[in-house]
């Protein structure tokens, strides 16, 4: 499998990264180089092998359903590029 410029633009859109027309050919070449190399994994016989999502044995721990945090609006908003009336602010969203 290899990617073309249309696929690269689609991946960039999915990843929410703006790419310029000038950047596309280089990305096509680099991504194909990397994808061509990782494709060697296809030759490994993995029949009956469970995919490993985590090296931790067992399942994730549960915690008590308790409020352990909160009431720190100032701290939460302190690094926001734009905040107003105690909220994060973004450009107008009108479809």
């Amino acid at each position: 499998m290899s990617v073309d410029s249309q696929t690269v633009r689609k991946i960039a859109r999915l990843a929410r990264i703006a790419v310029t027309d000038d950047e596309v050919p280089g990305l096509v070449e680099q991504l194909n180089g990397i994808l061509g190399w990782v494709e060697q994994l296809g030759e490994v016989d993995t029949k009956g092998v469970e995919p490993m999502a985590s090296v931790m044995p067992g399942s994730l721990r549960w915690r008590a359903d308790e409020v352990t945090d909160g009431g720190i609006q100032d701290k939460v908003l302190a690094n926001a590029p734009d905040a107003a009336s105690g909220f994060f602010a973004v450009p107008k969203v009108i479809e």
Binding site: A15, V44, M56
Partner: protein, 484 residues
């Protein structure tokens, strides 16, 4: 005062306890050294006021603990409350966390003094420190008869350079595919990545969550052990944190290899392996044998698939983790004139991320996308299981594994412009990361060009003690005293 910076962390601890010097004097000696070595670009932010305040509190007895007064550098991936934390990225330029990472909180609890935030590859993606948005870190080392600047390795390159150049007693690092071990080897220091789950990931900026582990980098194995005990520990805020006791590794260190079986994985002897690296490995085998270890040949058949597996799993996790940098809650925002919120996301991320980070996010996005998920991502997860199984089977025959840390000594800037060539530098470190195993690099010798070379020890899950003991045995046998 310069002599103070030459002490090991353990010697500083003893000297402070015996009141041979004060914590303020020790901190100031390091701050002076940092000011005199800014050309290395090891620190993104220096925190002299914080360091002197912390040191003063040690001297007046109000701060105590096993690391009281020890001056440390902190990789810029760890959130330190009130100090800019950027992960080496433009997208986080100016971000000042209002919370403390669990690892740095542990070090502060134990009395450590923070000198500043250390430069690194952007979001820990790199093996040379060339991807930092804050400029490359320069290794304090130079090859014999050459004035060419060399890379310190990566991604913990600022940590490596600072420890090697005596700009801190020890430093925190993080290791996703070798980011502690490879830079440690390149600058002639020690560094250990503990078993996955030993050190909390909370407050450490995420790259690939199933692989990321924090660990110490320092000039001796004992120093690493002292820092490691402080950094590790159960943390309910990290869902993969191990709820088990943390040993006092420094107290347990013996360096004894009597009755230990050391495995030598056949697949690590690559075709065309650098003769110096092969010779150093043989020397390491001879040292451990002389210390009473039994040498066992073992096989890790899926080794050659570790790097391609890593370069699917890590970018996939990164593409998900880095989705949070959207210019809304923190970090920098770019809004094109008249643009809507979607334009803002895309422009913010295009401007904020560097080339390598974008490349990895896109690879990750692709391998997780509909139609390709099973062929790439699921297959990589299955091969990862086989790689972990290889290790489990090898450890039925041996107690630790001994390998080289990196396939070459430090290289020059720009020497690995092709991303694939750069990725291959992690060939010996990535497999243990995929299996979540403890692994360390110890300086073991110099190349013919006079540059440091490291040997890697990989241990069973939770057997940091075995790894550190073998590391100490190598350290004693090698008698590595070279310095930049």
């Amino acid at each position: 005062m310069s002599a103070l910076t030459d002490l090991s962390l353990a010697q500083m601890k003893a000297g402070l306890a015996a009141k041979q010097f004060s914590a303020v004097e020790l901190a100031q000696a390091h701050l002076d050294a940092m000011a005199a070595n800014r050309h290395l670009n090891a620190y993104i932010v220096e925190t002299p006021e914080l360091a002197l305040r912390q040191a003063k509190a040690v001297d007046d007895g109000s701060r105590t603990g096993p690391l009281a007064g020890i001056p440390l550098g902190i990789k810029d991936l760890f959130a330190v409350e009130g100090v800019q934390t950027t992960a080496g990225s433009n997208i986080l330029k100016g971000f000042v966390p209002r919370y403390e990472s669990s690892v740095t909180a542990n070090l502060l609890r134990d009395g450590a003094v923070f000198l500043g935030k250390l430069n690194m590859d952007e979001f820990a993606m790199g093996s040379s420190n060339e991807t930092s948005a804050y400029g490359r870190v320069i290794s304090p080392w130079k090859a014999k008869g050459s004035d060419a600047e060399l890379v310190p390795g990566g991604s913990s390159g600022g940590s490596a350079a600072a420890v090697s150049a005596r700009l801190c007693a020890g430093a925190t690092g993080t290791d996703t595919g070798g980011s502690i071990r490879q830079p440690a080897a390149f600058v002639g220091i020690a560094g250990i990545k503990p078993t996955y789950g030993r050190a909390s990931r909370w407050g450490t900026i995420a790259f690939a969550s199933s692989l990321d582990q924090a660990g110490p980098m320092a000039r001796t194995v004992t120093d690493c052990a002292l820092m490691l005990t402080s950094m590790c520990g159960f943390d309910p805020k990290d869902s993969t944190s191990l709820d088990i006791a943390v040993p006092d590794w420094a107290a347990g260190l013996t360096g004894s290899m009597k009755g230990k079986r050391v495995g030598i994985p056949a697949e690590y002897r690559l075709d065309g392996m650098d003769a110096e690296i092969a010779a150093l490995w043989d020397q390491g085998i001879a040292w451990l044998k002389a210390e009473g270890a039994e040498i066992v040949s073992v096989s890790l058949p899926h080794t050659k698939y570790a790097l391609p597996t890593y370069y699917i799993v890590a970018p996939a996790e990164a593409s998900s983790n880095l989705a949070r940098y959207d210019g809304v809650r923190y970090g920098n925002r770019v809004t094109p004139k008249g643009g809507n919120v979607h334009d803002m996301y895309a422009a913010t991320r295009a401007a904020g991320f560097g080339k390598e980070v974008k490349r990895r996010i896109m690879i990750g996005t692709y391998v997780l996308s509909a139609g390709f998920y099973d062929a790439y991502y699921t297959q990589a997860q299955k091969v990862r299981a086989l790689i972990a199984r290889d290790f489990a089977q090898a450890f039925e025959q041996c107690d630790v594994l001994l390998t080289p840390t990196a396939p070459s000594p430090a290289f020059a800037f720009g020497a690995k412009a092709d991303p694939l060539a750069m990725y291959l530098n992690d060939v010996f470190t990535v497999p243990a990361s995929l299996a979540g195993l403890p692994a360390m690099s110890v300086p073991a010798g110099l190349s013919a060009s006079g540059l440091p070379l490291g040997l890697q020890i990989i241990g069973r899950p939770l057997d940091e003690m075995g790894v550190l003991d073998a590391g100490l045995a190598i350290e004693r046998a090698a008698g590595f005293t070279a310095r930049p």
